[in-house]
């Protein structure tokens, strides 16, 4: 058997790109296989006149709606929350909002602290140095000094609050609640050849300015300079195993030709949906339930971060149509709430308003958009005058919440799609209600003339975690503390599949810090 590479990394998103770069810094030979294609600058919606239509079609983050040529089928009809992702070089970071907080120290020990979920088998302190590395590579912006994040010591200047942020901040202050300007993976100043943010607004439509740190602009550029080879439009269908040792991957190139690549170490980073899909599809006589699945936990313990939205509408124009939509300010006041009937807690994540089409549709849904001569004033009552507080709930790992293979919906190569089974935990329902009530208090205090609350919000399943849990016990987890599958030598997982619990903050920064940490562990094995 010919060994082609030291490392084969499956997936070029947040985790895969970070891990591949880390391997390449140690002069290893690395191949990245990516399901999707490169996104060119002039592909991005905000370079088009009808940018919201493009955003809602080709760049639609909802996997079950987008149905792009490089997507595998996703059936989320049995989940109140739709899975969001993007298959491209750079993965879902192409469309992420770039809100970039760290998981908190307490998030690693919820079993010990609150007797719910599990503790992480690795310590927070062991990840800390990798947060620093990651934030440097991802051009972290933000304000040093948040009492919740005493370890953060370096960042570019924060994204501007604008009038909308200041209005909300005053509301938080009146209630005596914590808030802080967002940490963002956005270059707010020209540095290291990166352009600065120009406040276009919809970062979640991709960033033609290249100020947002999607990993095609960060890790992948440096990895390629180090000699990493990246093959796009390649769909990995299964892991090849000999004598319980992973030796390579099999998949299909763009033309549908089946190809095999051999490597010394196989590293999966295809997301908490894509990674279990590949493992479950890699079943054999020795692994009839899928590869690395003797625990039966591959695809299980799916966590999605149920979200509630509370939208405040103000009398004055608040500039909420400008600036990074998903990066404004956050509050960890309710990260833990002693006087509530739920455990754990939620983050309040402030968002700016949407574009004209989104605003018009939102007003219509509230029965506040009349047609005829009134349509312009009705529209003007919302546009640039909205602020949203997203309640991001810490999810609880439950075995019944899972990703399964769907043999009735196949991809273009005849491989199974995925079906999502997910229900909200009772604790999450209580938390969501608590959060939305508090966000309405906040909106009132900030001066909103009206607020609207709903949750769980359907199209918000960005934060997908837990489907190949890390742990010490092979009967209760899929991978060990080095990311290596308990059942299969030389096969590793470095994406958010391995997260034992979910925190209540956006996971991208922690996904990458854990991927860098595991890359070093994998290298040392």
């Amino acid at each position: 058997m010919k060994i082609d590479f030291d490392y084969i990394v499956v997936g070029s998103g947040a985790a895969g790109a970070a891990a591949a770069w880390r391997f390449s810094e140690k002069n290893a030979s690395v191949l990245i296989l990516e399901l999707g294609d490169y996104v060119k600058n002039d592909d991005y919606p905000t370079t088009k006149e009808n940018w919201e239509q493009v955003k809602n079609s080709k760049f639609n983050p909802i996997a079950s709606s987008r149905k792009g040529v490089y997507d595998y089928p996703v059936d989320d009809t049995e989940s109140p929350i739709a899975l969001c992702n993007y298959n491209a070089v750079g993965g879902s970071t192409i469309l992420f909002s770039a809100h970039f907080p760290r998981f908190l120290r307490k998030d690693f020990s919820i079993k010990s602290d609150q007797n719910i979920g599990v503790d992480w088998p690795i310590s927070y302190d062991s990840i800390l140095p990798y947060f620093d590395i990651n934030e440097k590579e991802m051009a972290l912006s933000g304000l040093i000094g948040d009492p919740y994040y005493p370890e953060i010591e370096d960042a570019l200047p924060p994204v501007p609050l604008g009038k909308v942020g200041e209005t909300l901040a005053k509301g938080f202050n009146q209630l005596g609640w914590h808030w802080w300007p967002s940490f963002a993976a956005i270059s707010t100043r020209e540095k290291n050849g990166r352009s600065k943010c120009i406040n276009l607004g919809p970062c979640n439509a991709g960033c033609p300015q290249q100020a947002k740190s999607s990993v095609d602009q960060t890790y992948l550029k440096k990895a390629k300079i180090n000699g990493v080879r990246l093959i796009s439009k390649f769909s990995v269908s299964k892991i090849l195993v000999e004598n319980n040792i992973a030796v390579g991957v099999e998949g299909f190139d763009e033309s549908g030709k089946c190809k095999i690549f051999y490597g010394k170490k196989i590293v999966l980073a295809a997301s908490a949906v894509g990674t279990p899909r590949i493992l479950l599809n890699s079943k054999s006589k020795n692994s009839p339930n899928g590869l690395a699945n003797s625990s039966g936990l591959v695809g299980k313990n799916l966590m999605i971060h149920p979200l509630g939205y509370v939208e405040g509408v103000f009398n004055d124009y608040l500039e909420s149509d400008s600036g990074p939509q998903g990066c404004l300010l956050y509050s960890l006041e309710h990260h833990r709430t002693a006087d509530s009937d739920h455990k754990l807690g939620y983050m309040m994540h402030a968002l700016r308003g949407g574009g004209p089409v989104e605003v018009a549709k939102s007003a219509l849904a509230k029965k506040k958009l009349r047609f005829g001569g009134s349509v312009y004033n009705d529209f003007g009552n919302f546009y640039g005058k909205q602020a949203v507080i997203a309640i991001i709930c810490e999810d609880i790992p439950e075995v019944k919440n899972q990703i399964m293979l769907d043999y009735e919906c196949l991809d273009r190569f005849g491989q199974p799609g995925v079906k999502v089974l997910y229900q909200l935990h009772n604790n999450t329902k209580k938390m969501l209600s608590h959060g939305m009530n508090n966000a309405r208090r906040l909106m009132k205090e900030a001066g909103a003339k009206k607020s609207y609350a709903h949750g769980p919000v359907k199209n918000t399943g960005w934060h997908i975690m837990g489907t190949c849990k890390m742990g010490l016990n092979p009967q209760q987890s899929v991978v060990d503390v080095n990311g290596q599958a308990h059942d299969v030598k030389n096969m590793f997982i470095v994406d958010s599949s391995v997260f034992p619990t979910s925190s209540c903050v956006n996971p991208a920064n922690t996904i990458q810090a854990v991927a860098l940490y595991l890359a070093d562990k994998i290298y040392d094995l």
Partner: protein, 129 residues
């Protein structure tokens, strides 16, 4: 007066989005690509049939008419049509510019926002968390 297809749907769309001269916002039927785009609206034929059947008139109150149409024909197809109308009209550069003062496309036009007033953070920083 009885209108034929597609004139009746154009009349209806004009009633929905009549423009606002004082703000230089054009009516939907005055947009340069209107006649091409309207053909691609998913339920345009259904709408034509409804308008013809209900004998839509220029003098009809548009919101009341839509309400009655939904009651008579159900809301699914009419809502799909309205959705397409909104995506087209509020996504058109000739509407966006006067309505929002934003350029279209957005890129590469910079918007400058004020720096943070750091005094706002004093109460947070002084709290003992």
């Amino acid at each position: 007066m009885t209108y034929s297809t597609p004139e009746i749907s154009i009349l209806f769309l004009h009633a929905m989005f009549p423009g606002d001269q004082s703000k230089n916002i054009p009516a939907i039927d005055l947009l340069n690509d209107f006649r091409v785009k309207v053909k691609s609206f998913k339920q345009i034929n259904t709408l034509n049939n409804i308008l013809t059947d209900m004998k839509f008139e220029e003098s009809d109150q548009i919101n009341e008419f839509i309400k009655k149409a939904k009651m008579k024909y159900g809301s699914v197809e009419i809502n799909q049509f309205i959705n397409d109308c909104i995506e087209y009209y509020f996504g058109h550069k000739d509407v966006i510019a006067p309505l929002t003062n934003k350029p279209s496309p957005l890129f590469p036009n910079e918007t400058v926002l004020d720096d943070i007033d750091f005094n706002l953070l004093e109460p947070v920083y002084l709290r003992d968390l």
